[in-house]
């Protein structure tokens, strides 16, 4: 007979908030991998990119399993310190970053589009700014641990809010670079083949999408930590 224990079943061993951090771990791993691969790709080093794309896909799948596990073990009766609806939306946006990362990696892998020399630095800069946005978002989400530890102390709330503002700022900056790159691509349109132009525009858009979803994550996070 397996032994079961009174009282302890009320507080769960596996917390949904822990699952959220685990999922974030996959986001971190995946995005930094993609970033390094992307920089090489821009410089024309295509030979290892296929492996990067496969790795990104693998991590995306692992994150999906974590996401599914969190959702499957969150019945209506669970009382959480944050609003459960916001929590689930936050998770969804976190996962959307990975979906876009996978799409981007596969697009890059399917067709090795040469990046024109005059755009290389801008592409790298843009990717790094998106990366910074995501890193700042990761910090904000990780600060949830301290928030819960302290029972939502005002100091930790302020800390999280500061991080959220920083994500908004960085996302906006990335948008500006995206605008400049897009403008340059249109200016170069006579020198580009239509297919190359199409792909360049698409790459810029999809890199930027990841920052947009990072912004959505912190928006839901802001709702979660509301008093």
């Amino acid at each position: 007979m397996s032994y079961r224990v009174p009282v302890s079943a009320i507080y769960r061993k596996k917390s949904p908030l822990e699952g959220l951090q685990q999922h974030m771990g996959k986001v971190k791993e995946c995005i930094s991998l993609l970033r390094d691969g992307f920089i090489k790709y821009v410089d024309g080093e295509y030979e290892h990119f296929h492996e990067v794309s496969e790795q990104v896909s693998k991590l995306e799948h692992e994150a999906d399993l974590i996401k599914g596990n969190i959702r499957a073990h969150l019945p209506r009766q669970i009382l959480m310190p944050v609003d459960k609806r916001y929590f689930l939306w936050e998770l969804r946006e976190q996962d959307a970053i990975l979906d876009h990362a996978e799409n981007l990696a596969q697009l890059l892998d399917l067709r090795h589009t040469p990046i024109p020399d005059e755009l290389k630095e801008d592409f790298k800069k843009h990717m790094d700014m998106v990366m910074e946005t995501i890193e700042e978002m990761e910090k904000a989400v990780e600060n949830m641990k301290d928030l819960v530890k302290t029972g939502f102390a005002e100091r930790e709330r302020k800390e999280t809010k500061r991080m959220i503002h920083s994500v908004h700022k960085k996302e906006w900056e990335a948008d500006q670079v995206r605008y400049v790159i897009t403008k340059k691509i249109y200016e170069m349109e006579d020198a580009l083949t239509p297919m190359n132009e199409y792909h360049l525009l698409k790459i810029v858009d999809w890199v930027d999408d990841m920052a947009d979803h990072a912004e959505n994550v912190v928006d839901w996070l802001r709702a979660m930590i509301a008093k």
Binding site: M1, Y3, R4, V5, P6, V7, S8, A9, I10, Y11, R12, K13, S15, P16, L17, E18, P75, Q77, I78, L79, M80, P81, V82, D146, V148, K149, T150, G151, F152, A153, E154, R155
Partner: protein, 402 residues
């Protein structure tokens, strides 16, 4: 024939004590083990010794309570009362075993009350049962969880506002440590004075007890402060973990106290009916022997079955850090103290369950499973009817046999 009944009663009493020890040890020791404040082996030794000591040293003279408070035994023949108490004992034991297996923290006191009321109802009719006692039991279903929740909510909010919410939580925790140590010691002392035989034998007034407890807890708080002030935060260790570390020591104290008072209070549920049966079927037995007998049963339950209980809980309890554990323990102990002072038959389990919800509502816990709580509440409502019904069945059977 009567000797056979006496022997069966002894075995049933041991079985009940074993049940109580195995089931309730998780309430007292699991938080401390889970937070790695003490090892599993230490917890077993401490819980066994404290339960035994609590039972023997301050175990209540509850024979009369069990005998007279629930039913009016004068309305039945001695023979029938003897068989009835045996039926009640068996019925309560079986119910506790079942509840433990089903993960339901029920009150062993309520189980016994149900069992005794059951055979009383059949043996002597409606007028035999003291309904006011049963009404109190029903009232305690509502009162103790709500009071536990409110107090734990308040306690956690106090810790949160006074410690976590200031610029330097570690320094503040050290400054306030005398207050929390003092409060803990105060509740422990007051409980021992007012709830156990120590109080009746010293025979002071309530005001004097409060005064004595205040002085002693102030001294303990000061001593604890001198001890804590040396605690330095390791550079690498996060500041919140240092705060939890301070509360860990308080939690060891409350755990020990719960183990001790558990032995003192609940041993009667096993020993009380046995005492009545032995007096009627064989001879009066000195209470101290009976209490020691019950204490051994509790210790046995802890070391044989309780081992697995604590280990399982220890692994599951990560969500309950020391500040939360302390809030829960403190609230439960206080509710039990105040309620029993008011003469209410409350259960530690009920107060603990309420307290966990209270901390959850204060945004202190990652996830509280309200579904499990619904199940637990059903089991509380079921305790009286179920034990009464089974007790009636067993009683009918025993009447045919003997």
């Amino acid at each position: 024939m009567l000797l056979i009944i006496a022997i069966i009663a002894g075995i049933a009493g041991l079985y009940m004590a074993w049940n109580i020890g195995a089931n309730d040890v998780a309430n007292s020791m699991s938080t401390a083990v889970g937070a790695k404040a003490i090892t599993l082996r230490q917890a077993l030794v401490i819980a066994s010794i404290l339960n035994f000591l609590g039972a023997v040293l301050v175990g209540k003279h509850v024979t009369d309570t069990i005998k007279n408070k629930i039913i009016d035994v004068s309305l039945m023949s001695q023979h029938d009362v003897t068989l009835g108490f045996l039926a009640a004992l068996l019925s309560a034991s079986l119910f506790v075993t079942f509840s433990t297996w089903r993960e339901l923290p029920v009150s062993t006191t309520h189980a016994i009350v149900g069992g005794v009321a059951g055979f009383g109802l059949i043996g002597g009719g409606m007028e035999m049962v003291h309904w006011d006692t049963l009404v109190q039991v029903v009232a305690s279903w509502v009162l103790s969880p709500f009071a536990g929740a409110a107090l734990a909510f308040f306690m956690f909010k106090v810790i949160q506002k006074l410690i976590f919410d200031v610029a330097d939580p570690v320094a503040r925790a050290k400054q306030l440590s005398p207050l929390f140590i003092g409060l803990t010691i105060f509740i422990i002392l007051l409980s021992i004075f007012t709830k156990t035989r120590v109080g009746t034998e010293l025979n002071y007034t309530m005001g004097e007890y409060i005064l004595i407890s205040l002085v002693m807890s102030a001294a303990a708080g000061l001593a604890g402060y001198l001890f804590f002030i040396k605690t330095r935060a390791h550079a690498k260790k996060k500041k919140y973990d240092v705060v939890e570390g301070l509360f860990r020591r308080l939690q060891v104290m409350t755990s020990c106290y719960v183990a001790f008072s558990h032995g003192a209070n609940d041993v009667a549920n096993a020993v009380g009916p046995v005492a009545v049966i032995l007096a009627f079927s064989w001879q009066e037995v000195d209470t101290v022997y009976l209490l020691a007998f019950g204490g051994i049963g509790l210790a046995l339950g802890i070391t044989t079955w309780g081992y697995k209980v604590i280990r399982t809980v220890g692994g599951r309890i990560t969500a309950l850090t020391n500040t939360r554990g302390f809030s829960v323990d403190f609230a439960a102990a206080t509710v039990v103290l105040v309620a029993s002072k008011m003469g209410m038959p409350v259960s530690t389990s009920h107060a603990v369950v309420g307290a966990v919800i209270g901390v959850g509502l204060a945004r202190g816990l990652d996830a509280v499973d309200l579904g499990v709580i619904k199940k637990i509440v059903y089991s509380w409502l079921l305790t009286l009817p179920a034990t009464a019904f089974v007790s009636i069945l067993i009683y009918r059977g025993l009447i045919i046999l003997f």
